[in-house]
């Protein structure tokens, strides 16, 4: 039976598409929606640490259709919007995104986009009605669309033959939804670089259409959340690129070594060459851990915990907190899933991390579950702060939405993520 969701934590398909493509330099979205769709995204992205984008907020062009376009069709309004946008905004790629109303009335945004392609502009379209799903679906959809359609407007880039490095694309990190997305991409790059791996981050600082045109040259696609699997499958079909799905893109030395082992099974990397790097990473991590030992015992860091967030994020924290800090994970509440919450099947690995695994999107129900578990520490979004406070539990923000928090280079993966968490969580527990 259908029911309402109280204080949901997601935007829609359209928002997923916007927040993804605006993190690619040179990409200009053109919205074919009613007024407000783009603006809502702008408000929402601020609590997801996506403060800067190539085109953002009020700058995002929108056809702002109203009743007249709904009744009579809005294609001519879209045509006008595209023509004017191309005149005033420089873009390496224009992406028309059609929202709910234009999809409901069947506006032909494909032909409208084709018109400027015929005039020599680089443009593609993505159907982004919000009713098709949430931001995760939007990320999945726009990434698939870029993979499919980019070669029709741009030739794929051939790598320089002198560059012998192994190349990988990182798939499944969603700007905004992963509040540490920028730092996480950087940390993955930092960890894999010493192995002779060239990481194609695709999104964020200095990532442009060229990075996307280069996707076909990858030796391996690394999928770090379930939302990257579709894209990896597509790339395998199109370019025969193998891919790995990393169950736990974790924090700390063990997770990093597991990641590298998993990569080594697919592509010939010499793990030995990175031995020094791993050793240094491990030593530095231990040194960091040592610095909180006194607090650990004095303040009894062995807390009982409930973790709320996206599947990949919650796994990361559950593994780290039990492995390095000896915490007890009472429950994991996963908030990114498709379909009915009662029909979700957690993996065996996930089950091994906590006593209880729940799938919930409703903030009130999530609060009730936390109340029942009665933990000493809640790791979740800002929406869980209230219930944590009422239970007298500590609260630490790890997932979207994150109010009053600016995250630019911090991460929650790798060595740096582990050390950062030790530092930040200790500060919370000392209060």
């Amino acid at each position: 039976m259908s029911k309402s969701i109280e204080r949901g934590r997601y935007g829609c398909n359209l928002h997923g598409a916007i927040q993804t493509i605006t993190q690619i330099q040179g990409v200009v979205p053109i919205l074919h929606t009613t007024p407000g769709c783009g603006l809502q995204h702008d408000i929402a992205k601020k609590v997801g640490s996506a403060f800067a984008a190539y085109v953002q907020g009020y700058e995002i062009p929108s056809s702002n259709v109203y009743e007249k376009q709904v009744i009579f069709g809005g294609t001519s309004r879209l045509r006008e919007q595209i023509k004017n946008t191309v005149k005033v905004m420089n873009g390496d790629l224009y992406v028309t995104l059609s929202g709910c109303e234009s999809e409901m009335v069947g506006d032909d945004s494909i032909s409208m986009t084709q018109e400027i392609v015929d005039q020599g502009e680089k443009a593609i379209n993505y159907r982004a009605p919000g009713f098709k799903g949430d931001q995760y679906i939007g990320y999945e959809g726009i990434v698939s669309t870029l993979i499919d359609k980019l070669p029709s407007v741009y030739e794929n880039v051939e790598e320089e033959s002198s560059d012998n490095r192994i190349k990988v694309n990182i798939l499944g990190i969603i700007p905004v939804q992963d509040i540490y997305w920028q730092g996480n991409l950087d940390e993955i790059q930092r960890v894999l670089q010493p192995l002779g791996i060239k990481v194609n981050k695709l999104l964020g600082y200095k990532q442009s259409i060229d990075n996307w045109r280069r996707m076909n040259t990858a030796n391996l696609n690394i999928v770090v959340s379930k939302w990257g699997i579709e894209a990896a499958k597509k790339l395998k079909k199109l370019y025969h690129t193998p891919y790995i799905v990393v169950d736990n893109l974790g924090m700390g030395p063990d997770a990093m070594e597991l990641l590298v082992d998993q990569i080594a099974k697919e592509i010939p990397i010499k793990v030995e060459i990175a031995r020094d790097f791993f050793r240094a990473g491990k030593e530095r991590f231990r040194y960091a851990l040592k610095q909180i030992t006194e607090y650990y015992y004095d303040y009894d860091f062995q807390k009982s915990v409930v973790i709320v967030g996206d599947e990949s994020t919650t796994i990361r924290y559950a593994d780290f907190l039990t492995r390095y800090l000896g915490m007890e994970i009472l429950a994991i509440i996963i908030t990114d899933f498709v379909g009915e919450e009662t029909k979700q099947e957690p993996s065996e690995y996930l089950r091994s991390l906590a006593y209880d695994i729940y799938y919930k999107k409703d903030t009130r129900e999530i609060s009730q579950l936390i109340e029942e578990a009665n933990p000493e520490l809640v790791l979740g979004s800002s929406l869980e702060e209230e219930i944590a406070r009422s239970l007298g539990a500590y609260h630490y923000t790890i997932s979207y939405p994150a109010y009053n928090k600016v995250i630019i280079s911090s991460c929650n993966v790798g060595y740096e993520g582990g050390i950062g968490l030790i530092e930040n969580l200790s500060s919370v527990l000392l209060q």
Partner: protein, 295 residues
């Protein structure tokens, strides 16, 4: 948009039915008959084809409400209405060109605009007839029977299965909206009836759905001929028996307060019912059983 029923001026009647079944012809003749009887009548065509009121205004040009809305200029009532036969005020909602936009929303917007223009306060009608297109395919086409715009609906149907199917769909819509203030059903108007068993089929359907047939209009050349002249039967052939049928129907619609919430048949139920009639008609045509025994 919710209209306060106590303030509603005149009786507001929606006429539905499958495309091509004769809704506009029937509605226009009812309007003409009511006007002839001295009532103030408005007929609003709710169809992108915008030909509902043709026979009331001699096929003269009439800009539609939505055409005016598209142009974006300030709209006055006189721009979108024309006075036709015996003072019937004719209005066409119009709609988008086929294949684009949303006609359902168009009807909604047109009716909204008419409210804003104080149409009913200005014209003070006794009767307002809404001639609504074809099948109730989506929410937009149910607007006239929702939100208290009309308080009663009639459905025009022949004895053909597809027409009855469309009628049954409308019953579903009424059934859904009536409990929350939507229109109730006045009844079914049998139109274009030729075969001997046509009446029996319609009567059986109305009986099964807890409704009733309020008029039977046989197929007639007079109707077609009047239309070709751009006139209603009431105007072109006022003494023809057909004009009498329309007058009786309009009197019934004007006076009757017998409104019901129909019980539509389920998909399988409707198919089984149709199959049963198919067998009966086949037997009748092939002479297995005599006519009166068969029906």
């Amino acid at each position: 948009m919710v209209i306060n029923m106590s303030k509603k001026i005149g009786k507001h009647i929606a006429i539905y039915g499958k495309g091509g079944i004769g809704k506009s012809t029937t509605t226009s003749n009812i309007s003409a008959a009511l006007a002839e009887a001295g009532y103030r009548v408005i007929q609003i065509g709710c169809d992108p084809k915008s030909d509902s009121t043709n026979t009331l205004r001699g096929n003269n040009y009439l800009p539609t409400v939505l055409d005016s809305l598209r142009e974006g200029k300030k709209i006055h009532l006189e721009d979108i209405s024309v006075v036709g036969f015996k003072g019937v005020l004719c209005i066409e909602s119009g709609g988008p060109v086929p294949g684009v936009g949303c006609a359902g929303r168009g009807i909604n917007a047109a009716v909204n605009l008419l409210q804003e223009l104080n149409l009913f306060e200005e014209f003070k009608p006794d009767y307002v007839l809404y001639d609504v297109l074809g099948d109730v395919v989506c929410g937009g086409f149910a607007v006239p029977i929702r939100d208290g715009i009309t308080d009663r609906a009639y459905v025009v149907s022949s004895s053909d299965f597809m027409a009855i199917y469309a009628a049954n769909n409308l019953f579903k819509a009424i059934n859904k909206y009536a409990p929350s203030g939507g229109a109730k059903l006045g009844g079914v108007i049998g139109n274009g009836l030729s075969a001997g068993y046509s009446k029996s089929i319609i009567n059986d359907f109305t009986e099964k759905t807890g409704t009733k047939t309020v008029g039977y209009i046989p197929r007639s050349l007079v109707v077609s001929q009047s239309e070709l002249f751009g006139k209603t039967v009431i105007e072109a052939h006022p003494r023809d028996p057909h004009a009498g049928i329309y007058r009786n129907l309009s009197t019934y619609i004007a006076e009757s307060e017998d409104l019901v919430i129909p019980n539509p048949l389920g998909v399988t139920e409707l198919k089984d019912w149709a199959r049963e009639w198919g067998d009966k008609i086949y037997d009748l045509e092939t002479g297995v059983i005599s006519g009166s025994e068969a029906i």
